[in-house]
Amino acid sequence: MSTTPQPMFDTDVLRRFESLGDNCEFGLVKSGVGVDHLGFFRFNNTPFASLLRVLDTGFRDFEHLRDIRLEVAVNNELIVYLPDYEMRYHTFHQAGTVDEGAVIARQRGFLSFLARKCLDDLKTGRKIFLRKDGSYETRADMTRLLEALQRHGPNRLVWVSEAPDRNPEVRAEILAPGLVHGVMDEFSTYEDARTFSFHWFGLCRQALHLFDGAAMAQLPARSKDVVHLPEGRIFRDAILDGETGAILPAPELTKGRALARVPAAFSVFGDGTTPPGDLFDADAFGKFRSTLEHGHMPVLLFRDHSDFSFLNSLVAQVNPRIPKLRLASSTAVFAAKLFVPLTYPIQSSSTR
């Protein structure tokens, strides 16, 4: 028997997981680092009872679901509402910009297709299902959910709760064979699920370790040497300080204070008065990205009191997959930046 370590990036870790709701947060975490797998529950708001019913009936109703409606969210986005299941999901279309009848008509095909895909995953057991606890679900609930999953195949479940004290130290433990309970510092708000805690990555790594025995996350490997860019634009092997939110060179790390370590990051801090969009050098950023190792997503740092609409324009310019990653609220007061995704390699062990 030998153990062969394989490099494993956050993107590889997240590919192993499949969201079961309760809302779109985990789906956005995955798509934020470029893991855009289609999934029935990926962008869904799914009450627990509905989730159980869908699983218990084997998605039977979704072959030809009749009652499909559209609602308009506060941000004017069209939301699909399935009253039979009290489920809602994003269309990412703004009301008034699309033919709503056509949107509804397409949902039947989408739901049937995604149901078939989910059933395929359930039968093979190749995904680790993840349920974000949105309504004070209990261990007994999760046992029932795991049973429902395992009626389809050899499935595993991660139940993720929010720490009552918003402790930034994420943790995961095995509750039963096939069931892991993870605790996050905090969830995103339902109003802005796109701004999520980067601790999702650590939590998934821990859960994968508990299930598959993969080695725990290692400190990140250094990226390749970064090409010379204007002073102050690049952070290499930096530490995000948990108390002040400052970015420090790695040697200044004080044990226990680090929130995250990033192999390389690109700063658009500026002087705090000039709009970040005016400072952004797309060519320099392009060169920076080209130096990143395969699997690393670029990390962007900018002030949390920046005009966040800048991020939207930035996404259009340089990368369609740049989410906002936020700090825990306990540190965000001092944080001078938001993150764009952290991906650092870990070692997984495959036993032969």
């Binding site: 289609l38 990412f92 095909g109 297709f113 190749r126």
Partner: protein, 79 residues
């Protein structure tokens, strides 16, 4: 069918879904190369391809498709 023929048919189907004639995919193309190719469009395209070629993709195949070459290969294995 040859890969070339499959690619031509995929191009036709993608143009139908997008209702645009100016989309031309190569084997190296990805969804990111086509403006508006989001996850919903992706499902529409996959459904159109399944119908046209009388196949059904597995979840694993769908997850592993990164480029049009991956898509063409998946179709080729079934036809």
């Amino acid at each position: 069918m040859t890969d070339r023929a499959i690619l031509d048919e995929v191009n036709n189907l993608v143009r139908e879904v997008f209702q645009r004639d100016d989309v031309t995919l190569s084997l190296e193309s990805t969804a990111a190369d086509v403006d508006g190719w989001d996850s919903f469009r992706h499902i529409e395209i996959m459904l159109a391809i399944e119908l046209r070629f009388a196949i059904r993709f597995t979840s694993s195949e769908l997850d592993e498709m990164q480029t049009i070459r991956d898509l063409v290969d998946a179709i080729s294995r079934r036809t």
